[in-house]
């Protein structure tokens, strides 16, 4: 089954909630949600996972997998557990950027915020803040960071390996890898060892584009030491032959033509 879009997921929650007129029924619904939440291992309920600002204790943790952020949570209070379950049901498995940029406005639409006790409302705000914070932390830093000499030394071998990994991916129509073809416009590896790649294709109509992008992402993600990878497609500026590497020119027998 295809995953709902964020908007669809939010709309579904709003519709679920609108079925209940009475607050006690809404609570029953939340209690049910809370009871069905996946088990969160006791030993992993550490202080750093605890959300501050709630009357009950709420633990929230996240994991980035294939560019998607997955949440898990628990609370010692069942209604709170239902609320956090509702939140992670909507946001889990989405791209960090999409989560970080969301306004979480649907919470107000279902009336949770104003109808909870003030301490609980604060707790809800804290939960949303934490989800946003975790999402923001997982958005791959694409802007060049200030690197110390030590950082550079540490990152240098990763660059080599990532380049090697990209060179494993070939354009389906040309027997030259995407790196030497000059399709890679930008490669950033940040201090968290996440790779950000901006690339293009020889023509905007490339029918295999999705597969190639996925191959690049997979190949780079598999490099030991790389913790995440994001690949972005651009056609600005458009690719032309001058972007070929010397190796590629040799391979394609283009050297003589230019010279």
């Amino acid at each position: 089954m295809k995953m709902k879009t964020l908007e669809e997921a939010k709309q579904a929650v709003v519709e679920d909630f609108s079925m209940y007129d009475e607050w006690l029924d809404k609570y029953e619904y939340l209690i049910e949600l809370g009871k069905n939440l996946d088990v969160y291992p006791e030993e992993e309920k550490t202080e750093d996972k605890l959300i501050k600002g709630c009357q009950s204790r709420v633990w929230l943790d996240s994991k980035l997998e294939d560019g998607k952020l997955w949440f898990r949570a628990d609370s010692d209070a069942i209604i709170t557990k239902g609320i956090i379950s509702l939140l992670i049901g909507v946001y889990s498995g989405r791209e960090p950027k999409e989560i970080a940029e969301d306004d979480f406005g649907f919470i107000e639409q279902i009336g949770l915020k104003e109808n909870l006790s003030p301490t609980r409302a604060n707790g809800l705000v804290s939960m949303i803040d934490k989800i946003r914070e975790l999402a923001r932390e997982s958005v791959i830093e694409k802007e060049p960071e200030v690197l110390t000499a030590d950082d550079a030394k540490e990152l240098a071998p990763l660059y080599d390996n990532v380049v090697l990994a990209i060179k494993q991916v070939y354009d389906p129509e040309i027997p030259v890898n995407v790196y030497d073809l000059g399709l890679i416009y930008e490669l950033v590896i940040n201090k968290k060892h996440e790779a950000y790649i901006k690339m293009t294709f020889t023509a905007p109509t490339c029918p295999m584009a999705d597969e190639v992008l996925a191959d690049v992402k997979k190949s780079v993600s598999d490099v030991p030491g790389i913790t995440g990878c994001e690949v972005e497609l651009t056609f600005e500026p458009p690719w032309d032959q001058s972007m070929l590497s010397d190796e590629a020119r040799l391979e394609l027998g283009l050297d003589d033509i230019d010279k």
Partner: protein, 407 residues
């Protein structure tokens, strides 16, 4: 008077919440306000809104009269020796902070000790912790037993020649047990150690005769006593207040101001810097006359005791753990804190709220006490003389419903 007569004096009780008649059982946090107090405050704002003590005009004189006659009423209510010993503050917390600062600056030095108890409200812990940090003094703690009674027998050995003050609550805001403060004062005084009593809860249900108690300081708030918020009282023995340095400077607390050095106003002005809560403080007169009436009305007391007893027996159920076990009815105020096995306090309070019942949940500003009993929080129900049998019935039903949803 009957409970029903009293209900008529509290307009806020007439409202509905979430379609249910309000059952207000969070009186230990803030009680509802007397209609007379509301009217007086409005009247002062409308007709006598002028700064006290300063100007010579009519409004100022009326406002001053209202304010100063409240001091006399408070003096009489707690039987203080003189009106100079009554200082108006913004509440119990402000009163205790005043003593922690001014008494502390004057009398507490490095290596000295302050004693508090395990069942204190944060407001009777933090000001002393701050003082101890400032002065490199030591904060010592008197424990409680498993039933929630202070270990008064340990006090004597806990006090040392370095102990400068003992701060203890008259009634715990969580346990509701009335502490033997008179005995505590005796023990402390026999070691020449002054005592501050936090009367925030005690003044409402027990009252206080500060001369009989012989305590050195007594603090309470107006908002738990059916008066306006932002009002409070510090009683202090003149011998201490006179020696203590001022807490805040400015306004009417001065004698003469010179850049070479200033002198301060005589008591109690020395401790009332800045413009006072002039519209609100006089509401204490209404609450005092109300509380006096109640504490002297035997028929009413019987009626409210029956409500309390009914609530207490309803809570003696097998899956409810009550904290602060009374040794007799006279040792506990109508305040019950408990946890329900398998149900979180916050969930319970949330469901009760939607059924119109207001209770308190959480740590109740007494985290050390929560730690003492190994819980993250409790539910607290606290009654006022306007709470009825029917309300207790509604509460019991709502609690049963909440438990059935959660457990």
């Amino acid at each position: 008077m009957t409970i029903n007569d009293i209900r008529g004096m509290f307009p806020a009780l007439q409202q509905q919440v979430y379609g249910h008649p309000l059952v207000y059982f969070d009186n230990a946090a803030t009680s509802q306000r007397l209609v007379n107090a509301i009217r007086r405050m409005d009247g002062l704002a409308l007709g006598a809104n002028a700064n006290i003590h300063r100007a010579v005009h009519k409004l100022a004189s009326d406002a001053t009269e209202e304010y100063e006659s409240t001091r006399d009423a408070v003096r009489d209510f707690i039987n203080a020796g003189s009106r100079e010993e009554i200082v108006f503050t913004s509440g119990t917390t402000a009163s205790i902070n005043l003593v922690a600062y001014s008494f502390g600056e004057t009398f507490v030095h490095e290596g000295d000790e302050i004693i508090v108890t395990e069942e204190e409200h944060h407001s009777n812990i933090i000001p002393w912790q701050l003082l101890c940090e400032r002065k490199k003094a030591v904060l010592k703690v008197l424990g409680i037993d498993d039933e929630g009674h202070l270990k008064v027998d340990d006090l004597k050995s806990l006090i040392s020649p370095r102990t400068k003050l003992v701060a203890v609550t008259q009634v715990s805001n969580v346990l509701g047990i009335i502490n033997p403060v008179k005995d505590i004062v005796n023990i402390c005084h026999s070691a020449s150690c002054p005592v501050l009593i936090d009367g925030a809860q005690g003044i409402v249900h027990v009252g206080a005769d500060v001369q009989d108690l012989d305590c050195d300081f007594y603090a309470f708030s107006g908002h738990k006593l059916y008066a306006a918020t932002g009002t409070g009282v510090l009683y202090g023995k003149k011998k201490w207040l006179e020696q203590m340095v001022p807490f805040m400077g400015g306004g009417e607390m001065i004698g003469s101001v010179k850049f070479s050095g200033s002198t301060y106003a005589p008591l109690p002005g020395k401790f009332e810097a800045g413009t006072q809560n002039i519209n609100a403080v006089p509401t204490l007169k209404d609450s005092i006359s109300f509380v006096r009436q109640i504490l002297e009305d035997d028929r009413l007391l019987k009626e409210t005791a029956a409500v309390e007893e009914y609530l207490y027996s309803a809570l003696k159920s097998k899956n409810i753990r009550l904290f602060g076990v009374p040794r007799g009815t006279e040792t506990k105020i109508p305040l019950f804190s408990f946890v329900v096995e398998g149900a979180h306090h916050e969930d319970l309070a949330l469901i009760l709220d939607k059924m119109g019942v207001a209770v308190r949940s959480g740590q109740m500003c007494a985290e050390p006490l929560m730690d003492r009993f190994g819980v993250t929080g409790m539910i607290r129900v606290s009654l006022a003389p306007y709470n009825t049998m029917e309300e207790v019935e509604s509460f019991v039903k709502a609690l049963e419903k909440a438990i059935s949803m959660l457990v």
